[in-house]
Symmetry: C3
Subunit: 402 residues, 3 copies
Amino acid sequence: MNKRAALTVLAVMISAPAVAKTWVLTSAELAVDQGNWKISSDELKIQDSAFSIEQKVLHGGKQEGSKIIVIHSQSGLTITLSPTRGMNLLRVEGFGSRMGWDSPVKEVVNPAFINLESRNGVGWLEGFNEMMVRCGYEWTGHPVTADGQIYTLHGKAGNTPVSRLEVDVADAAPHEIRIRGLIKESTFKKADLQTLTELRYVPGSNSFSLHDVLTNHADYPHDYQIIYHSNFSTPILEEGARFLAPMSGISPFNDYAKAGLKTWQTYAGPTKGFDEMVFNISPLSDANHQTLAAVINKAGDKGAAIQFDTRQLPVLTLWKNTDTLKQGYVTGIEPGTSYAYPVTIEREQKRVKQLQPGASTAFDLTYTLLHSRDQVTGVRNRIEKIQGETKVDEITTPMAKE
Amino acid sequence: MNKRAALTVLAVMISAPAVAKTWVLTSAELAVDQGNWKISSDELKIQDSAFSIEQKVLHGGKQEGSKIIVIHSQSGLTITLSPTRGMNLLRVEGFGSRMGWDSPVKEVVNPAFINLESRNGVGWLEGFNEMMVRCGYEWTGHPVTADGQIYTLHGKAGNTPVSRLEVDVADAAPHEIRIRGLIKESTFKKADLQTLTELRYVPGSNSFSLHDVLTNHADYPHDYQIIYHSNFSTPILEEGARFLAPMSGISPFNDYAKAGLKTWQTYAGPTKGFDEMVFNISPLSDANHQTLAAVINKAGDKGAAIQFDTRQLPVLTLWKNTDTLKQGYVTGIEPGTSYAYPVTIEREQKRVKQLQPGASTAFDLTYTLLHSRDQVTGVRNRIEKIQGETKVDEITTPMAKE
Amino acid sequence: MNKRAALTVLAVMISAPAVAKTWVLTSAELAVDQGNWKISSDELKIQDSAFSIEQKVLHGGKQEGSKIIVIHSQSGLTITLSPTRGMNLLRVEGFGSRMGWDSPVKEVVNPAFINLESRNGVGWLEGFNEMMVRCGYEWTGHPVTADGQIYTLHGKAGNTPVSRLEVDVADAAPHEIRIRGLIKESTFKKADLQTLTELRYVPGSNSFSLHDVLTNHADYPHDYQIIYHSNFSTPILEEGARFLAPMSGISPFNDYAKAGLKTWQTYAGPTKGFDEMVFNISPLSDANHQTLAAVINKAGDKGAAIQFDTRQLPVLTLWKNTDTLKQGYVTGIEPGTSYAYPVTIEREQKRVKQLQPGASTAFDLTYTLLHSRDQVTGVRNRIEKIQGETKVDEITTPMAKE
């Protein structure tokens, strides 16, 4: 008898009380392991919305055994994420546009083939091609050797296979879809940080939300850091594309970025030799602590916006990597608890947060794919309103030297 | 046609001459690979004993692809071990008690997801949750950088997938079960140490034995070290639990453990801020070179004992990790050739042993789950008898500084 | 329904226009993943030649999940290579002889279980047992820490799973077989070197060719290095076996090899304590830039020869590892762009080559298993002809200190 087939039967369908159907695709605890799998609105007898949710197991090269989930909404977005790679979002497509970029890394690299400590702590670059990577939570930022160990680039969550994976479809219209994945950073004596990530999407919509809850399961307080490394390229990013966010101040990450400070609001086209410029931003928010950051195209009819809560994610990094297309022409809009400096600097400058034993903290972000002049104008107006009369302080000196 | 199903058929059942049936579950050499698999006393037409032996392939998180073997004896012990993790024993349950503990690491981590060199050589902690881990054989102990390389915490055997795995069931009552696994530490120019581990269990019994044979397959002498890192917690470990072992002397591993030297015989309950204290013990043995070490509960009606041969394993480490339950409230009783100091110190102090080309050496240990006052008293009496009139030398100074 | 079975159906058979049939066994891009698979000349209705091509998935130990391809020609060679290990050639057998050797590493180690940076950059040794490993292309040679990172022994290509794997069989006699594998060394910001390797074999023949094309897919020039680390042992290598190659000069790699300079032309039998001696050779070539290097047995009726182009591979390393059989009695004949010094030395001495953006470069080598006195004499004559009147300069001083 076939073992994998037998396991497949174990895939559990739980009917949550009167509100949603839930499928458990992976559970280390319950020994559930779903391989290739698909449901559709048709199968669920849903008539007012057309969508499918599919899990695929990938093969070949360094993506051997990696899994992806594809949420396909006929009139909305197609969202692709990877449970094997920390629930990272690979790409989001729809409305003639997309969120995401083209990295020279084409495969969905299985973390089994990555040594994060390699190349002096930047092994993470061997798998980096996502529209959004969670950089955290045990640490984040550029690599540094401290406390007798190497803190590797952007931490481990984004290279951690999911311990539990669940799919919800709400019974009632508009049939909201939720994908939950549990990412464990549990090491004896070191950490027991667990993040229950959740992606929420209403079929047909041009936006989706993340609701991630980080819990410190240990009996001691533990530091944490997180950067939501969100990356956009063509067709939004182009020469003359603009970056929009309400802010009290902006400063160059390092000396190289100084030269780009005056033009932080606009983007260059693909530019050989540009490499990358990074800027540290202090975001402003509205009365409800909500803020927005966006990249919009030159014509002002395409864009991508991220809404987040500055109590949860108080700082914002702008990454302009407008090098050539093949090198990965891309901009990162990165809400976080920290800037991208090494953890040692983030500690000195008091941006590293701490969770008490048993305590949880949530991170809520809403991503919107803007596909009309009106939508772009709407976001621009909201940002201008939050900015109000506050003048942007363009600080010429980097706040730290790596 | 299904490939895994086809392979399954290859699982080989060899009838050993008149004494036992043997199943080969894994063989790199013979291309045998059994996935989920089970036999039971019923299927074997055995009527005087009720047991089953099962192999399961695990999924989810970092245990993707890990295998476990569960020996279940209806009136005796349930022993769970992992071929993927060097035949380590995960837990042993029965008689209303257990051997093992609760690590914050819950998954049976596939070594493909562990970088032993990470965190400055303590990547081993990302998978540590076993009742018994073989720490060796190429090296063991705390990490150290020497000879231009890092000797990682507790070596590699415990994170090495088994190259050959066999299950025996004796034809004659009491139908002894043997599980053999071959662990290879073979690296061109560096080592060819191979350990044929064997677990022996008679269904219904409250004890089992290990018989491990380490062979140096190289043409040059090779150093080896081994610590049988055996770990116990509730319901045996508790405030007022006691550690018993015949010894000529005991000393603190480091300055921090000095404070615990006077109370080495008893355990604290779960204690926030305790972290760990380690003690080095020189065991005494009987005329047959056998000795015993045990942890017993406060009431003296539950315990776990390890019998071993001091010619094979001349030293004993006591690890008191009586921190909170969530941190992993646990004590280690660790017979070995070495203490837990880095290999550099163990070399200086002449505890590193050597195997000549082609030579083998065996390690025999018997673990007993004590579940009555009589059994505990029996062990206590044997230990007292070996101790005899010899006074325990409580040495206040650690024998080395790391 | 079984997922692997479903995937199997995806294996694509493409009929190339009128010249060959092509099977795609692996494609990360097309989501093709073939497990165990076989075709034979019988199934293809080929009558003038008897051969089979088989892919097997291996299991057990550290070879869990590794794939091998076996080309078996009834009257010719049996060639075994591993797509999981960078299309490395494991062994080539036939005509009562073989190319290859016996490493203490017996398994076809899945790179998921190897940390190339371990043991101070020589983790590569934990998987080394091949007849031919591609050492490159991002870097090669002995490990060194430079530019703030470790350049691990012999690079990463040989431990990279293939991203695309295709098998061709020519329609017309003599039905040449081609196995193509794409090896990607693609890391954001670091490299996008891709090598399309191709092995070409005519069934019945005693020789095969490699045609590898390395392309720099990045928009910036990139350094590359390659050593075709080709390894031979019994029954060719023995006491009195000879090394043959036309050369202008030879020098010891290091001080230890100085003692062996005068006897570079002959081999010792298995010799305890020999370890290894390495020599740097400047090959001479014919008017077409072709050269040959060979090892032949004492009797002069068995041998292995490699033909290569000195414009592509200008230098040659001779590795004499005539230690005991169990240690891996073996000689390496290693055409390359570089000697085996660390990349830092190779840079200083101007042997590191560079590829412009989008540029490709090819490497062509022909391996022949010599199995008669005539064949050996033929190779010897060709080598003597290329050598001509040129005297071999035996340089006593190593060209660099590591």
